[in-house]
Subunit: 105 residues, 2 copies
Amino acid sequence: MEAKLVVKHVLLAKFKDDVSLEKIEELIQGYANLVNYIEPMKAFQWGKDVSIENLHQGFTHIFESTFASTEGIAEYISHPKHVEFANLFLDHLDKVLIIDYKPNC
Amino acid sequence: MEAKLVVKHVLLAKFKDDVSLEKIEELIQGYANLVNYIEPMKAFQWGKDVSIENLHQGFTHIFESTFASTEGIAEYISHPKHVEFANLFLDHLDKVLIIDYKPNC
């Protein structure tokens, strides 16, 4: 039951080819830091694609944030710290996909 | 540290328009049931897209399975119960995207 009390915000990204590894690390750190500024954002994790099925459609990174509600995600999206970071982040991406869901087991 | 000991297997799906809600529920149940047959598959959760940013690119559902290692995912992919289910499942999808990652915080 508890799992239904959270909403996951999942972002898939493909960085542009000319973005350095250092810049990518800096952007990931900037994403992680949003937890410290945006109250409804309860947790954050990320990883690089390690899939072997070749169905990742070019996406290289995945970012998962956890919220208590869809209202929390809406508050996050419009938060000035998120807006500032998102503009910077999206400038460095070739592709982005975002899906939110309430986990059921 | 513990978070690095797992690998997440994330599948995004868009069901074909002519697939009934009953069939979708049956397929989700079939996906969930794989946990009972495939030892390396440690956990499963799923949800419907509830995002408001319109960046979900048509995907309607997300499925997340947890494994102890990338070798566990390879074992899962080639497991007869998975092959049987995947053939049935993919028949009902318009779009699929799969990405695996080791979560970092």
